[in-house]
Assembly symmetry: C2
Homo-oligomer: 354 residues x 2
């Protein structure tokens, strides 16, 4: 028999990208950064390894202070979480469970649907336009909470903060959450708008541009009242959510601005070179402001492309649903790996008679 509450019988949990223990793949499927974390991050983490007998500060104040300083907000406008997934869960559970509907694009981070399902949120998925952009008019009608990934995933397309501001202005009694997981690779952050709009929560992560996917650190910035509400959720679920080693790594990553900028530049440079290279081969590639590209080829379906790449030792991500099924999402790795991938495309297209 099952002891699980029946309300969860239809639960559709999130399916993470494959994490192979097998190292024989060039892994371009979960938007990991191809460069290792800053040496400073590793050094700070190492100093914590002989202190694990002690709980960390549950507020992670030193990290909150570093983030606050970097983004020119107050420390009480920051909450640190176990990856940005955790703060997204706090937001869904705390803010989106009332009667007001929640809107998000029908093509976006697949976890929003999972959180909404788990938390029993009244949500509606709003179709993107045919070019995969958001129709602002869908989000300015009022009386709905909104969550938008900017840049969006898996499309890689970005919106300008001025557009987000139109949404924020339209109904200040509803909450607007902007998930900026990929913002450092070419988007513009909405953090500056927090000062002006109490109804904005900006979510960021250390997993992508800060190279800490495997250390799990995320955060949100908002009006202090919203942060205080999110902390009520945190202290009702898991007060010691971010361990001391990961906290120290994140502080080190924040302090090494040079490493941050240098590795971002390399990812962007590689993305642009790779995009040009595969467009020449006939691929449609959306304009990415992230560390991945979303691409399709008129001559070969997404699933077939995914499978053939896997046979050749490349792991990319394919979403086997509706509008996404023709595409594959390719994380941007090191230049040499991306050029190997471009070559592999040549072979696959040749084999497919294209």
């Amino acid at each position: 028999m099952s002891y699980l509450n029946r309300i969860y019988s239809g639960l559709k949990p999130y399916t993470p990208g494959e994490q192979m223990s097998d190292q024989n793949y060039i892994k371009l499927n979960t938007n990991e950064n191809p460069y290792e974390a800053s040496e400073k991050a590793r050094k700070y983490a190492q100093a914590e390894l002989s202190k694990t007998r002690l709980y960390q500060d549950p507020e992670n104040s030193r990290l909150a202070e570093a983030i606050a300083k970097y983004h020119h907000v107050n420390q009480n406008q920051v909450i640190i979480t176990n990856g940005s997934d955790e703060v997204l869960y706090f937001i869904f559970a705390g803010f989106f469970t009332g009667e007001k509907p929640l809107l998000f694009p029908n093509i976006t981070y697949g976890f929003y649907r999972v959180y909404a399902g788990f938390c029993g949120v009244n949500y509606r998925e709003v179709p993107l336009k045919a070019d995969f952009t958001i129709d602002l008019d869908d989000y300015t009608k009022g009386n709905a909470n909104i969550i938008i990934a900017n840049p969006n995933a898996p499309t890689g397309l970005k919106m300008e903060p001025s557009d987000i501001e139109r949404i924020l202005k339209a109904d200040q009694n509803s909450l607007v959450v902007v998930d900026e997981a990929y913002v450092d690779f070419g988007g513009t952050s909405c953090i500056r708008l927090v000062e002006k709009y109490d109804n904005l929560i900006v979510v960021q992560t250390f997993s992508k541009a800060r190279q800490l996917a495997g250390a799990r650190v995320g955060f949100a910035i908002s009006h202090e009242k919203n942060i205080s509400d999110l902390k009520k959720i945190k202290y009702s679920i898991n007060p010691y959510n971010v361990n001391r080693i990961s906290e120290a790594m994140a502080i080190g990553a924040m302090e090494d601005q040079e490493h941050f900028e240098k590795t971002i530049s390399k990812v962007i440079e590689t993305r642009e070179a790779f995009t040009s290279a595969i467009r020449e081969k006939g691929f449609l590639v959306l304009d990415s402001s992230t560390n991945f590209v979303f691409a399709k080829h008129p001559g070969i379906k997404g699933k077939a492309l995914y499978t053939k790449l896997r046979e050749k030792g490349f792991l990319v991500r394919h979403f086997d649903t509706g509008l996404l099924t023709d595409f594959i999402r390719i994380s941007i790795g090191k230049m040499e790996d991306m050029m190997l991938l471009a070559d592999a495309f040549d072979n696959i297209l040749r084999e497919a008679g294209q």
Copy 2:
């Protein structure tokens, strides 16, 4: 205005023990281990610091395998979480939110009440007997889920698995969760009963006897169906919940049985010496099977004792509620610190004219 769902307006989050950044205290307030983690744990963690760009295996399979092997269960009977607090939350959210009431002692880990409040659980706190032990008859009437900390906190008292088995047997349609955070310091685990009872979930942590409080690793062992249900919750909230560094540390800690046993022996030896020493000074000390003692003195109230100890540089925990208010909870530190504390008691009692 607040965007938080009104259902949370009466929320009473957990209050963690003080975590001072100030190092001038002898810190005996959050049941931390006085010894550092095994060198093997630190070595394994260090090897991960240059791999953080990559997500960890979301199943934490290597650690799950190590735990399964150690406890003679199958790997699919284990779930790894971000401290045991996280798996407790999964259990409350997933299993305790139906109509069936949940029972737990009125004196126990304070977080159960918080989870129950947050998740909207129909719960009842069952009074302990005057000697702070559990009345088994309260838990064998059927038609109620049950959570028991064994050994209990903050009393430090243990129950035998044969008593837990009576509860398990009484109603196999209800779930019994045994929280064994402190079991390694003198209790007997109920993990062996998992084989026989599908309605048992045993929760343990690496925070206490494995010295990883600041790395955040906990786990639960149960029938594979319950673990699979708990994973549905995990994959609906935070699939990458335990980072790769903490996972590696926990594996190292599991492999160093000698360090584990040696440090436990030292804690137990210190606990017994300290208990004898302060009993001689007139303290009532409950028989502890944990790494803390729960004690009171007839001549001085718990709050006053807490305050005076703080003035003298010792941080202990005082719970300012009902039956607990006369007591203080003292974590077991190194022998020399505990003897300093015993001396401090002499001074405090003298100053109080006792």
